[in-house]
């Protein structure tokens, strides 16, 4: 196995201003070339970590098709880089790899539309932020208000957000406007271990910590009038963005399956350059078990965001009153594996699409997109970093051809948490954000410092690459009014 080395500009072929290729000849064990969507500025950061070498490793996966892709928010992960995308052909010995999906299964984003303008909200904003901060636990070790027994939890794992509607939380509309309607039907709750279930039992309705947050925003600028209209977004309208995943239940599920696949790699004759790429043939019992367990954990995350969405409604009603309508625009996953059909070399193939720190971006006419959105494609929700812009994009027809119908997921880190804490003081950051008129509700200044915008790539840059590459197109930009996050 070749020793790891830094990949530099001279190793890349420029396909366009926003697309670069590492040819298959670069390393002997690559089965396909690797492609990264980036501009020159982003590439400079990318060369500083190991993410491109990791992308080359992804290109060695059995059954991988076309290219190992990376989105412009690419950064170093373990196994797959964050922002990595790989399609493996099911009928060609294609594998499924938990590392290509992530420990936080179905980490994703939900965006709600509120029938208020930012000006109308202003007098209530501080109280509302406080109310939401208390209503929706965030940070470490904070249990949720809903404690599920084993039977209830099994139903949530099987039916995801649908189960929450049955229990009286949220609406049918919340389901319709959600990827997979908030339920992957191949989920098998019996494959979630007792340990994972114990962890998840009191975590439904919680945000977690790290880069997870809830943001109250306003629509700042409209780039695509037609799509904005179809999505029901107007200038100065208030939106609420929820970013979180499957909590301890999902993390444990990934850990369990990584541990169970690891010793079996020999029996499938799979040799990998990195242990964290551990995988199983999709058709093997272990591959099937992981996919069906992953779906159950994904359902938990959708139930989670669905419930948090309803509690946002409850908080709004408490502080402002019930004349306000809050509806779900859409909910997307950015750590997930899907069975999809794609045209590859003139043939339609069934693949396992791995998106880790990458968001599906299906275009107009796709059956997976809610019928109301089909004329313009699915919404793609891109959270910015604290105090900076977030975006709503729309999937395009070209996206399937160019990048397997995929877009970025956010800005992507460029500085470690340790370095960020040395560079930024949490209390100073809080003051700076408040000086911009952004209300912060967080009980950890240290947690704030680590999430400082300077620690991330520029989201404007990342989104402009996605737009230019035709992976997805800009629809609106959102700006934060209030940020609620845990430590």
């Amino acid at each position: 196995m070749e020793k790891e080395k830094q990949i530099r500009l001279e190793n890349l072929i420029k396909i366009s201003d926003v697309l670069w290729e590492i040819p298959q000849e670069f390393r002997q064990d690559m089965r396909v070339p690797a492609r990264v969507f980036a501009n020159q500025h982003i590439l400079e950061d990318v060369f500083e970590d190991r993410s491109l070498w990791q992308l080359v490793n992804v290109a060695t996966l059995p059954g991988i098709q076309k290219f190992a892709f990376a989105m412009p928010d690419i950064h170093q992960g373990y196994g797959f880089p964050i922002g990595g995308v790989a399609a493996t052909a099911i009928d060609e010995g294609g594998v499924i790899s938990p590392g290509g999906i992530g420990y936080d299964i179905n980490c994703g984003v939900r965006l709600l539309r509120v029938s208020m303008t930012a000006d109308e909200l202003k007098p209530y904003l501080a109280d509302l932020a406080t109310e939401i901060f208390h209503a929706i636990p965030s940070g470490v070790g904070r249990g949720g208000k809903l404690k599920l027994n084993q039977e209830d939890l099994a139903k949530v794992l099987r039916d995801g957000a649908h189960r929450m509607v049955e229990l009286g939380y949220g609406t049918q509309g919340d389901l319709e406007y959600c990827e997979e309607t908030g339920r992957m039907t191949n989920a098998d709750a019996t494959l979630i271990t007792t340990t994972a279930k114990k962890r998840g039992a009191d975590q439904l309705g919680t945000l977690g910590s790290g880069n997870h947050f809830l943001e109250i925003q306003r629509v700042d600028e409209i780039f695509d009038e037609k799509s904005a209209q179809v999505y029901g977004l107007e200038k100065n309208m208030v939106t609420v963005m929820i970013h979180c995943g499957s909590r301890g239940l999902g993390h444990q599920t990934c850990t369990d399956h990584v541990n169970s696949m690891m010793p079996k790699m020999g029996q499938w004759g799979i040799q990998l350059p990195d242990r964290e790429l551990v995988c199983a043939p999709f058709k093997s019992p272990e591959g099937q078990d992981y996919f069906n367990a992953m779906a159950a954990a994904a359902n938990f995350a959708w139930a989670n965001r669905h419930l948090i969405g309803q509690w946002v409604r409850d908080s709004w009603k408490k502080v402002i009153g019930d004349s306000v309508k809050i509806t779900t625009l859409y909910d997307v996953s950015h750590n997930i594996g899907k069975r999809e059909s794609h045209e590859i070399n003139g043939k339609i193939k069934q693949v396992i699409m791995h998106r880790k720190g990458a968001t599906r971006a299906f275009g107009p006419g796709r059956p997976e997109v809610p019928s109301h959105y089909q004329p313009v494609g699915q919404p793609v929700l891109i959270p910015g970093t604290m105090g900076t812009s977030s975006y709503v994009l729309a999937g395009t027809k070209e996206s399937m051809e160019v990048g397997f119908g995929t877009s970025c997921h956010g800005a992507g880190r460029r500085m470690s948490r340790v370095q960020a804490k040395k560079t930024v003081r949490g209390s100073t950051l809080r003051q700076e954000l408040e000086a911009q008129g952004i209300i912060i509700r967080s009980d950890s200044n240290s947690g704030l410092a680590e999430e400082a915008p300077i620690a991330y790539k520029d989201v404007e840059d990342v989104v402009s690459v996605v737009d230019k590459a035709r992976l997805a197109k800009k629809v609106v930009r959102l700006k934060p009014l209030a940020v609620i996050k845990g430590g």
Partner: protein, 147 residues
């Protein structure tokens, strides 16, 4: 005094380097390093510098694990401690190891109830850069945690 662990730079996650004169010490320091580096908050304990000091560690859990090899065993050991921490809202700042070999560990985790972690929550223990080796006669490894 021998160093037990230190924090290393890493772009998106948490990385520590762990040292031990024996394999038992390596496992013990890995556990201590994992919990101390995320800033546990416990009203029964005092913060001194970057670390938490507890006069007693009353929360005890016996664990027995099997694994394919030493690397998997370390990951399983830390993962089990992490899961118990999440379930019980505790942090384990020490461990008594009764048995340890390449494929098997039997130990008693010792910890305290916590109100939370000041720094961050660990999602998982990864295999990334995990390479248990002897350097100058002592055991050493890096461990990357997904956060």
């Amino acid at each position: 005094m021998h160093k037990d662990f230190e924090l290393l730079p890493h772009t998106a996650d948490l990385k520590i380097r762990v040292y031990g004169t024996t394999l038992e010490q390596l496992f013990r320091h890995a556990l201590i390093g994992m919990f101390q580096s995320i800033g546990p908050r416990s009203k029964n304990c005092k913060k001194k510098g970057e670390r938490l000091y507890c006069p007693q560690l009353p929360q005890q859990h016996d664990i027995t694990l099997q694994a394919h090899d030493l690397t998997s065993l370390l990951v399983s050991f830390l993962s089990e401690a992490l899961a118990l921490s999440d379930i019980h809202n505790e942090a384990y700042l020490d461990v008594v190891i009764h048995e340890l070999d390449q494929n098997h560990i039997r130990a008693t985790l010792q910890g305290v109830p916590i109100e939370g972690f000041e720094v961050v929550e660990i999602k998982a223990v990864t295999y990334h850069d995990l390479n248990i080796k002897k350097v100058d006669g002592a055991w050493q490894t890096d461990i990357v945690f997904d956060i």
